[in-house]
Amino acid sequence: MNGSLHLWLIPLLPFVGFLFNGLLGKRLPKAVVSTVALLMPLAAFGVVLKAAYSMYVHVNPACAAPVHLALQVNGKLETMDLIPNGCGIYTELLGYWINVGPLQVNFTFFLDQLSLVMLLVVTGVGLLIHIYSVGYMKEEDGYWRFFAYMNLFMFFMTVLVLAGNALVMFVGWEGVGLASYLLIGFYFQKNSAANAGKKAFIVNRIGDFGFLIGMFLLLANFGTLDFFNIAAKLAANPAWSGGVLTAIALCLLLGATGKSAQLPLYIWLPDAMEGPTPVSALIHAATMVTAGVYMIARTHAIFDRSPFALGTVAIIGAATALFAATIGLVQNDIKRVLAYSTISQLGYMFLGCGVAAYSAAIFHLMTHAFFKALLFLAAGSVIHALGGEQDLRKMGGLRKKLPITFATMTFGVIAIAGIPPWAGFFSKDAILYAAFTHGTAGKALWFAGLVTAALTSFYMFRLWYLAFMGESRNPDAHPHESPWSMLGPLIILAVLSLTGGWVAVRFYAFLAPVAGAHPEAAPGDRVEAILSILAIAVAALGWYIAWLFYRQKSERPAALAASMSGPYTLLTNKYYVDEFYGATVVKPLLAFSTYFLDWVVDKAVLGGAAWLLGGTAKFIGALLQRWQSGNLRSYAAWLAAGAAAILLYFMVPWAMVGVFLGNELSRVGRW
């Protein structure tokens, strides 16, 4: 590979689209807006493809030599010269940012196998969703605003992925949060949408707090935020583990749970479904919410040194996967089912990270991006066809009216349920296998994952049966198939959902240099085969039960719900987590803010101090006012008195007066 890859173009192009549509879009026809909004991600995707080609397809023969480790030498960045470009790793220094003594943080972009995979997913799936949005958003007000925000999101997301150090990543991290906020609250006239946007933003602040503390700890202990240098320093100290590394890892984990909607911070994601459906597909399923997984994989050198933190990641992942899947069982809003399913699948990715199977987690990230984007877009097509109806109970029988949507949705459902040869099976199976072989505790994690797989299969086929099978339950609906701008991306994603998993082995080999080797089963290993068969069996079981409940005897679910009213209410109310947080966090915080911060601090202390200061000044002013009598001769008298006082001060020999007075006083004392 020769010359620069021009990575800076990847974020910049969508940003130009954002500026163009954001500033001018309101006055331009829709055709121009959508052309610009589509061309920019397309061009960015092209740059990514070119980078991928010149780095990993057309490999430089000089790369046979081992890659040098790069360190900051005497506070100067030496990575550029030391790494032979095009040998798996590529750094681009865009500018200096913070340069204070030993602290050096620069705008660096970093491309390796991991960021390349993410970039391909973000720009590729992102582009498809942009195309889809042209059809989906056609009738909406604020068409230009929507595409401006979408491009803005692409800008920040690519910055996040390309970041060479934690601070640049944080810029992208916050930026995608902003874009997410703007897009969740796209229908800002709707109170619930505005509130959901705020909720997402505020809950994410908690995670960002963790990320920030983690960065401070990194700076304090490594003296750098550069991912490459951190990994190099860790590699140079093989004995270093636990302790502060655990603290760093847990702080970063807190950040990841916020962005990736894991326990205990997942509560914002279901509400985020208030946004337009393409947004749910792009931001809240395929890309942004996977940023936490990407961040853990990116900093996995730290996590690897802390078994405790890794265990926490795994437990959070498994618990979230199971927890969200159970809630997903009873949701009636088509998008909410998918939202809980997303949380659950993200839990899988965390589980994969937690058992140090980073490449499996990233693999699942990729396949999930395909099939979950597909599911959301297909659901969007259904909602579009039904004129905004999202309630599964009012759907049914759509397979005849929406044949293409039905076919693609079927691909998505089978893929997420984990039935081979669809993509979801391979990635899910890899994570489950990695968990199973990960010690004794791994068996429990694996079991949680297996149960989740069964639940996933059940609720996805439940959705499928309710929406597409049987007869229509809403006689007023006149569904119509979506335009080709929406069906095209659906078909491409459906193909990817089928074929995306077939590259598994090559994928692991490709990621191995950055994410560690995947625990591959030896040929003829029975455990792997048995686990795979089990996974397929539970997926089939889930499908069978869904068929039994929602196809065979549709009165059964209601009967079951009635017979188990306790657990059912618990699930329909999502375990009362929102209520619990409301009572334990929000209410005390509000009370504290109202009674202490507002009444005591603001009104009493600050207000009182201001009142006191102002009052004193006014009082003194009122006194001095009398001096300003307006009588000219009194001014002259004061002037003369002042002059006389100054004269007196300079003329009287005060030292001698002091001596005299002292003598007199001492005489009095002696008396």
Partner: protein, 100 residues
């Protein structure tokens, strides 16, 4: 030869008379004359010192002061006449339009 202090005492006396007159007199013209008296008191001490130290700087100062005083007298009397025409009085305490 008359000692220095006598001149200075006279100068101080003239100045103080000027100040007192400025403060206690109500008639604007008298107030104006008191100012002239203060200026001349100062002039006297300037001349005294110039004579004492055999320099001309003090006397040059005096010329300047007299010049300013002459200009001031011209302007000041004009103002006084204008005020008298407008208000028909020269009592300082009643010329208080600028008062808040």
């Amino acid at each position: 030869m008359i000692p220095l202090s006598w001149y200075l005492l006279l100068s101080a006396a003239l100045f103080s008379l000027g100040v007192i007159g400025f403060l206690i007199k109500r008639n604007l013209i008298t107030v104006f004359m008191s100012i002239e008296l203060m200026l001349n008191g100062v002039n006297l001490s300037f001349v005294t010192f110039a004579h004492q130290w055999h320099t001309v700087k003090g006397q040059i100062f005096v010329f300047f002061v007299m010049m300013v005083a002459a200009a001031e007298a011209a302007v000041g009397l004009a103002i006084i006449i204008a005020v008298f025409r407008a208000r028909a009085t020269l009592a300082v305490d009643r010329i208080d339009l600028m008062k808040l």
